[in-house]
Amino acid sequence: MTGLEDLYREIILDHYRSPRNRGELPAPPAQRVEGFNPLCGDEVVVYVQVNDGTVTDIRFAGQGCSISQSSASLMSSAVKGKSVAEARNLIRTFKAMMSVHEARLGDAPEGASSNGSGEDGADVAAPDPESLGELAALQGVVKFPVRIKCATLSWNTLAQGLDEAEQGTPSPF
């Protein structure tokens, strides 16, 4: 039995009620990237400012549930001031944590199918939650497979933003 307390940790509710780095950045010079979850209609807009290989500033806007909004807030706090390489590592580590595969080895949630799949390419060794700091609070989401896409929406959007920033391509939006 998986309780709601695994999903709605206090840190998550705090970031949902008081999101960090919510807002916009002028784009350009920032990259502005939109992400959608077509299943539920959630949307996020990530503004990321990269200077000399460092994420110097980040903001997010959009609408979504507590998981998608708190994940975006936690993400923005985690990557701000980091190098692009560190940010990419963090994205990889976070998406690995969101892998359903790992959760299957433990207690599968009631009624879940035995061959569910996590995020693409996330089937790697379990990350050390210690290295994730506050982000580890989102670990409980994997026990609710339908909500994984809520948690990863802003991260996938950030990854796209970093790609575009490094390629120097103008934002398509």
């Binding site: 709601l4 709605y8 509710l13 539920c40 209609g41 959630d42 549930c65 998981i67 009631e110 909500r147």
Partner: protein, 430 residues
């Protein structure tokens, strides 16, 4: 064809039980095995029938018995199994046609995959042979994507114009400008009941005006046919689309009903076996109705289950089902309003006359996904999201709602559990 099919003229009439009080709805849960399940330690409270309903034992038995005692492909064999499959498949067609008052069910009821495919069939055949660049199709702001995207695709393909009937502040269609909107319209495609708002549209009024303007009229009946007595003549539609799985039947089968002269004039839909009279190196001759539109092996066991679902609905009576749901909707509104006041908003018309048992909810600033997650923990199944009606969601100014939808097996205790679970969500997200 065999002679043993049901004759629609001698079949029972569609309203088997006009007196609502004759049915004890509190006992119906027992007919649905899945409703005895527990989820997270709680009795399951299923409030998502607008997405897909559950099945009574009689439907499961009909399909099991079919596969355990017979089965062959239809329309192709002379042996006993084939004759039985053929007879059962065609009997289901007649039973389904009878439920909607089809004057000629043997020819006018086309089995499709679902309501979506039924609408796509009309878009691919009738519309392609009747609409050209500049022609107008009139839709409404309440449509499900199934009755929007096929027309958007056609608009891209051949430059037809789409117009939209808006909605008023009480979530009804705004017909004040109908005559102007209908000017030059070739097709009106309109829902009979909104899957988000529960609004029952004044379809007959729209159809009459549309016919005066020379337009053909398609009804998306996916939400109303399972819940409200339906008569195609009274609706005044030329086409009616609906799905079995929303009316206690299996998934994988739906219906397009069409007026016979329209269906006769339409080109076939998919090509393949069953839909042809003759095939040569240089061409083919299409089969007669209804098989002209049923290429390939159809969903035979599903048709048998669909027929059993229709029998179950008729044994209770659509009038009684409608009355039960109206009563339960009124109860739900009063309980939710009393307990949550202005914290809870219901997107839909007031009263129960112009609406069915679909309650789209916004509770404080709790996101619908979070609300649905907390409700699931209490065993309550509601849908959260845009409900495949994004133009309507934009009109309502929301990204998503949490939707509780009622059916014949729901009762006041289900509404009470829903209200308690909403209160729990309020505590968690205080």
């Amino acid at each position: 064809m065999t002679d043993s099919r049901l004759d629609p003229k001698t079949a029972p009439t569609m309203r088997t039980e006009p007196c609502p009080s004759a049915v004890d709805f509190s006992k119906l849960k027992g007919d649905f095995p899945v409703l005895s399940r527990t989820v997270h330690g709680h009795r399951v409270v299923y409030l998502d029938s607008a997405a897909s309903a559950q099945r009574p034992q009689s439907v499961l038995d009909a399909m099991d018995t079919y596969y355990q005692t017979t089965h062959a492909n239809v329309h192709r064999g002379v042996y006993t199994f084939a004759e039985e499959a053929d007879r059962l498949y065609e009997a289901a067609r007649v039973a389904v046609g009878r439920l909607i008052g089809a004057p000629d069910p043997e020819h006018e009821v086309i089995f499709t995959k679902n309501a979506t495919e039924a609408i796509n069939l009309v878009a691919a055949t009738w519309a392609r042979s009747n609409l050209r660049s500049g022609d107008v199709v009139l839709l409404t702001d309440m449509e499900h994507h199934a009755n929007i995207v096929p027309w958007l695709m056609l608009a891209e393909e051949r430059g037809i114009e789409l117009r939209w009937i808006g909605i008023d502040d009480e979530y009804r269609l705004d017909l004040s400008d109908l005559d102007r909107l209908l000017d030059g319209v070739k097709l009106v495609a309109c829902t009979t009941m909104s899957n988000v708002l529960g609004t029952i549209t004044p379809f007959a009024q729209i159809a009459e005006a549309a016919h005066r303007a020379g337009a053909v009229v398609l009804a998306d009946g996916a939400q109303s046919v399972p819940h409200i007595p339906t008569d195609v003549a009274r609706l005044g539609c030329d086409f009616l689309a609906f799905s079995a799985h929303k009316m206690l039947g299996p998934t994988g089968i739906g219906v397009l009903w069409g007026r016979r002269e329209l269906l006769e004039a339409m080109p076939p839909f998919l090509g393949g076996g069953g839909m042809i009279r003759d095939v040569r190196h240089d061409g083919y001759t299409a089969n007669v109705l209804p098989w002209k539109f049923e290429a390939g092996t159809p969903p035979i066991a599903e048709a048998v289950g669909f027929g059993a679902a229709v029998s179950y609905l008729e044994s209770i009576g659509l009038d009684a089902i409608r009355a039960h749901e109206a009563e339960l909707t009124a109860y739900a509104r009063s309980v939710l309003t009393e307990r949550f006041g202005d914290d809870l908003k219901i997107f839909g018309p007031p009263g129960t006359v112009e609406r069915g048992g679909v309650l789209s909810l916004a509770y404080r600033d709790v996101h619908p996904h979070d609300l649905a997650q907390v409700l699931d923990q209490a065993g309550v199944c509601v849908r959260a999201g845009h409900h495949c009606a994004k133009p309507l969601m934009r009109r309502l100014g929301v990204n998503a709602t949490a939707r509780a939808s009622l059916y014949l097996y729901n009762d006041e205790s289900d509404v009470d559990v829903l209200a308690d679970a909403i209160a729990e969500a309020g505590t968690l997200f205080a």
